[in-house]
């Protein structure tokens, strides 16, 4: 597998400094190993902290049953799709899997057109404040992965159009930070809200960070 690495930067929250990082256009065995050995363990410990802190279960990450095997199998099956990951300090900090051929736009002004659909995007547990990592280790993972999805969309000729189904606690990020359009709850995706970005919204998102 050929992996192209692009230099990026993340913000180290505790030290208040920027750190060099890498954007990979792949998820390899290394990222899967990090996910299985490091992310899962940290997530379990985080749930233990939430429990011991008296946080009600309804406020925990959306968990009902623990089935790592099934999630691993799903992830592995999806590696045929375009993937991205962010590496820093030799560790996977975020992952994204996208689907380019099969999904179409839903917003009226671009209905039926191709887009890059984000099947899966996730931050490493230690970058998530809701898991009581205080402070979280790195910031910026979400924005960089969305940037990568927009760039892929442009390369595919989709002009920056992207779509995704957001977890409930991330709706604010996609609506406000990314400026995507919220098309509401989708009963076919466990009630998750579907968000879509138009060409103009993609330009606005990139401009927000000062780059065109």
């Amino acid at each position: 597998m050929t992996v192209t690495v692009s230099p990026i930067a993340l913000f180290n929250v505790e030290q208040g400094i920027s750190v060099d990082a890498e954007l990979w256009d792949a998820i390899t065995e290394k990222q899967l190993a990090d996910w299985e050995a490091e992310w899962n363990m940290e997530l379990l410990l985080a749930l233990q902290r939430l429990n011991r802190a008296g946080v009600e279960r309804k406020h925990w990450p959306q968990s009902r049953h623990w089935n790592w095997r099934k999630k691993t199998e799903c992830l592995q099956k999806m590696l045929a799709y375009p993937c991205f990951s962010i590496m820093c300090d030799g560790m996977t900090q975020g992952m994204m899997i996208v689907d380019t051929p099969s999904k179409r736009c839903r917003i009226e002004c671009q209905k039926g057109k191709n887009l890059v659909y984000i099947e899966y995007i996730e931050n490493a547990p230690w970058n998530r404040k809701e898991l009581l990592f205080d402070p979280p280790r790195y910031r910026g993972i979400g924005s960089i992965l969305i940037f990568a999805a927009i760039m892929l969309s442009k390369e595919e000729g989709f002009k920056g159009r992207i779509g995704l189904h957001s977890l409930p606690q991330a709706n604010n990020f996609y609506a406000n930070s990314c400026g995507m359009t919220d098309l509401g709850s989708d009963p076919n995706y466990q009630g998750l809200h579907y968000f879509e970005m138009t060409e103009q919204q993609a330009v606005a998102f990139i401009t927000k960070g000062g780059q065109l």
Partner: protein
């Protein structure tokens, strides 16, 4: 695919992103749901509430941590956490058997309380709902809770 992205852009967007959560896609659930898991908006199961409260109070009444109860009853810690904290959770038959053995209550009745068998004695579920409704999830077992617990144990303990 090479992606040109400046350090300034990364840092500016990191600042705007802050500590926002970013998970998207069904796979990003922590972890993925079973196909048979109930959706969040589904109806709250009375038996789940009653069984969860029952297990929690029986445990606290014995001064046990979840870890200790898991060890002594040979039940997974994760399953006990689900039972006590998630009213939607459907326990496994084996778990209910193990807990019935440990708490010394009839299997059949506890399976009813857990919603795993059709109610044969409607009194058990009615009493269970009343029992759960009288409790507050406070750290220590109050005399009222203990009395409620003992009364309910007497009901489900009757063959």
């Amino acid at each position: 695919m090479k992606i040109e992205i400046t350090k300034e852009w990364c840092l500016r967007m990191a600042h705007l992103e802050g500590d926002a959560e970013i998970g998207a896609g069904v796979l990003a659930f922590d972890p993925i749901l079973h196909e048979d898991a109930l959706p969040v908006a589904d109806t709250l199961d009375e038996s789940g509430i009653v069984f969860g409260r029952f297990v929690q109070l029986m445990r606290r009444n014995r001064g046990l941590t979840i870890e200790k109860l898991a060890e002594d009853s040979d039940v997974e810690i994760a399953e006990l956490l689900e039972i006590e904290d998630d009213a939607h959770h459907k326990p496994q038959n084996r778990t209910v058997y193990q807990l019935a053995n440990y708490f010394k209550v009839p299997h059949r009745n506890l399976l009813q309380v857990a919603g795993l068998t059709a109610p044969r004695d409607s009194r058990i579920l009615e009493e269970g709902v009343r029992f759960a409704a009288r409790l507050e999830p406070v750290a220590e077992l109050s005399p009222e809770e203990r009395a409620a617990l003992e009364a309910f144990v007497a009901v489900i303990g009757s063959e």
